[in-house]
Symmetry: C2
Subunit: 475 residues, 2 copies
């Protein structure tokens, strides 16, 4: 087979190459984009806030390869598996690009027999989804993951994950948000008491997961039509999934005659109550909503699940604010590491993933609206000359500055005009110009020009580094 495939692929490649000559396309692959210097400045600002939070919570950092053995990803994502990018079989192992950072993390734990770690991981993941780039949905995108692995007392690490989401979203000032919380055990208990057969739990869960995008009627008809659920069971689910609230709702459901009879639901609701207690101590219950419609698509969750959504800035008076999109999600996955361990040893885990692309879009739009000029370099000084034939002197001076740790540039011209050199500083935001001229060289000084004020001072050459440091210390 391999030979046949190779032959056919070769024939195809030849055809492809021929086509290529006729219409060469200058673009990035579908669903991906470049980050230019401006976008990078915004991206790094967001990363700084996120990393600061992860470090504040004592996390270590790890990294894993961008691809995994195909079999490592198999059977972890349920219906989403079709979105995985595979690599071409070029001989050797079958590989796939990572779909998230959670499965590689679980593989890492099992492989290194780690039973206890708190780590973050910021890296790109890949999904062959239909991109909607204006809304921040890409095929290549960053995830910023924080996870706590280990056997601990219930809900303490879970509460910390929610605290982290709350800190990051507050810190980035993205506007109002709500963190929806649910528990897979409550969902499964609910499915059981509604009469969903065990074998349909996961697929019905996938249907419920669509409720943030499509109305209940559509989800119901998928359950009944495509997935063969009885209309009564669907309607019963429909009653539960419109419920959301706080501690009051948890307590109401704990008294619910049907749900309270189900062991899983009871466990989930008990832990949910404990979680709310811890969140109260953290002072963040105001932004938390226990929401029975939250399901999360991925197969591997086993307990608490959550998702943070940004809310519309100015809702109409009296109406509930609309959600404008999910920016973080996560939950507990106690079984995933065990799937990799040869002896099935489990390592309980809970974690959160911050989806940075939508956050970028918002930060970008805001900066554009504010017409704030972002500097894309940190250069402190341009080494310039007022006369010709001073390239050697410029090179000598800039070399001294670099060696002293000063961020410095020159124009790559033998005899640049002073005006062009000053204009370059205006354009790029360089605050100082160190000007060498024949007179200055004779006097052992450098003329330092402050771009903003056009002030010029002669500085002795041996004091120049110190003078530049002082004058740019706030940069």
């Amino acid at each position: 087979i391999a030979k046949e495939v190779a032959k056919l692929l070769e024939m195809k490649a030849e055809l492809g190459a021929d086509e290529g000559k006729h219409k060469f396309v200058l673009k990035t692959p579908k669903g991906t984009r470049d980050f230019g210097p401006k976008e990078m400045a915004i991206r790094e600002r967001a990363f700084r806030a996120i990393i600061a939070c992860f470090k504040r919570h004592g996390a270590e950092v790890i990294d894993t390869p961008v691809f995994e053995l195909k079999e490592t990803l198999t059977g972890k994502y349920g219906e989403d598996s079709k979105l995985i990018y595979d690599l071409k079989d070029q001989g050797g192992e079958l590989l796939s690009l990572r779909y998230d950072l959670t499965v590689p993390f679980a593989r890492y734990l099992a492989m290194n027999k780690i039973t206890n770690i708190k780590r973050y991981h910021i890296a790109k993941v890949y999904r062959r989804d239909n991109p909607a780039m204006t809304r921040g949905r890409y095929r290549e995108f960053y995830q910023c993951d924080f996870d706590i692995a280990g056997q601990f007392d219930p809900m303490i690490p879970d509460a910390e994950c929610l605290k982290i989401v709350h800190e990051i979203l507050s810190d980035l000032q993205l506007g109002d948000f709500v963190i929806k919380v649910n528990d897979r055990r409550i969902l499964d208990g609910m499915f059981a008491v509604c009469g969903v057969p065990d074998s349909k739990f996961r697929t019905i869960c996938s249907s419920v997961d669509k409720l943030d995008k499509v109305p209940w009627e559509e989800v119901r008809s998928e359950m009944v039509g495509e997935k063969g659920l009885s209309p009564e069971a669907a309607d019963h689910i429909g009653e539960y999934v419109q419920l959301h609230g706080g501690l009051d709702l948890i307590e109401r459901l704990l008294r619910d005659p049907k749900l309270s009879q189900n062991k899983l639901a009871r466990e989930g609701l008990g832990d949910m109550k404990l979680l709310f207690e811890y969140l109260r101590l953290f002072g963040i219950t105001g932004k938390i909503s226990f929401d029975l419609s939250l399901a999360r698509g991925l197969d591997y969750y086993t307990g608490v699940i959550f998702e943070a959504v940004l809310l519309q800035q100015d809702p109409e008076h009296g109406e509930e604010p609309l959600s404008v999109g999910s920016v973080a999600g996560g939950g507990r996955y106690d079984g995933l590491v065990g799937m990799f361990d040869p002896k099935g040893r489990k390592v309980p885990c809970v974690g959160v993933s911050i989806g940075i692309e939508r956050i970028f879009s918002i930060l970008e739009q805001r900066l554009e609206a504010a017409e704030e000029k972002i500097r894309t370099t940190e250069t402190q000084v341009l080494v310039a000359s007022a006369q010709k034939k001073l390239l050697e002197e410029r090179l000598k001076l800039i070399s001294e500055l670099w060696d002293a740790g000063i961020k410095a540039e020159i124009l790559y011209k033998k005899n640049p005009k002073l005006l062009n050199q000053l204009q370059y500083c205006e354009d790029t935001g360089i605050p100082l110009v160190a000007i060498v001229g024949e007179q200055e060289l004779k006097d052992g000084v450098v003329k330092l020009r402050i771009v903003a004020t056009r002030e010029e001072v002669n500085v002795r050459r041996e004091s120049l580094v110190e003078e530049i440091r002082i004058r740019t210390s706030q940069c």
Copy 2:
């Protein structure tokens, strides 16, 4: 064809899946590795030094997708093209993982019609090479690239690239090194005067490139045997490629009766002389060697090329120090952007790529030898309790600390033993413990323990944040 391929691939996948069940392998793909917290600490240390240098030279930063359209990479790498990773054809565009950061950079410039930029890019690249992981050769590895694009006066940006390599290698204290420099025009001129036909320039250049790994005799027999070069031409090349030196050698070759007759060689040698003049002003000629055996494998270079190699630490008396491997390389590629521009408009570029994996290996070995303990978190304080039933108080206190920007942890236990909490600080290097107890709560204080000295002081709760900041300000 596509249908047939799909069918065959499907059959194959089924077979593959069956095999998978029998022997599940827990590993990262061949030639790749995870970075645990310790390795990440080392990696980030190296990145910090490299990024600081790039910023000191006024570079902006960009990022591009990890894969490109397959045709973007086609015809750019010569004989190395066979090492490119392709993605599986899952419908839609044909994609390949990037092989370096230079071709994506050129694509980015052409696509955005940028004629003038100085940027760095630090990212992973992919090569289906034979891995030699103990020597730092991987299939997935980082490149740290700095490039200057634009029409400038000769050799000024080129000299800056070499200065950057010199700064980074000095800064990282990797031991003695030499930066070999040559020029593709000198090589091509040399090939011409040695009687190599034009059509064989690139392939003979690839042979010369192997001289750092295999002896001349082997390279010669490849030229004559495999590549059909006349033995006379090969021997003539052999005489040139053993030459290396400084300004003296450049001037000798400028007077070489044959080479000086060749226009390309004359241009290359003239620019090489200018380059050495600028490097003298930068004070770095001591580490630079003009070396006629340096060829660089990639097709796209058009002018200056260079490669930095680390030297054996303690060479035998009187012997030349042995090279222990290349850690940086680069050169001028004035034609690459034009290959992407629909109208063939050229943007001259020169750049350097720091290969970080070998540097990691060296830093890792050195740290291991020094038995230095590296902290993998930045946690300033552990919030602990001496008695039972104080989880709520711990959660309240740590929440206050987090909100004040203090890096703090707790153990995720309801009633942890004090000894275990102190041990955790010893193990992870946390310098302070904030202990809440019933008496302290009554008195409105927190007991702050300094782990290193075992000293304990009572601090008023409202002064705790300030006290922690002062005591960890050197961290």
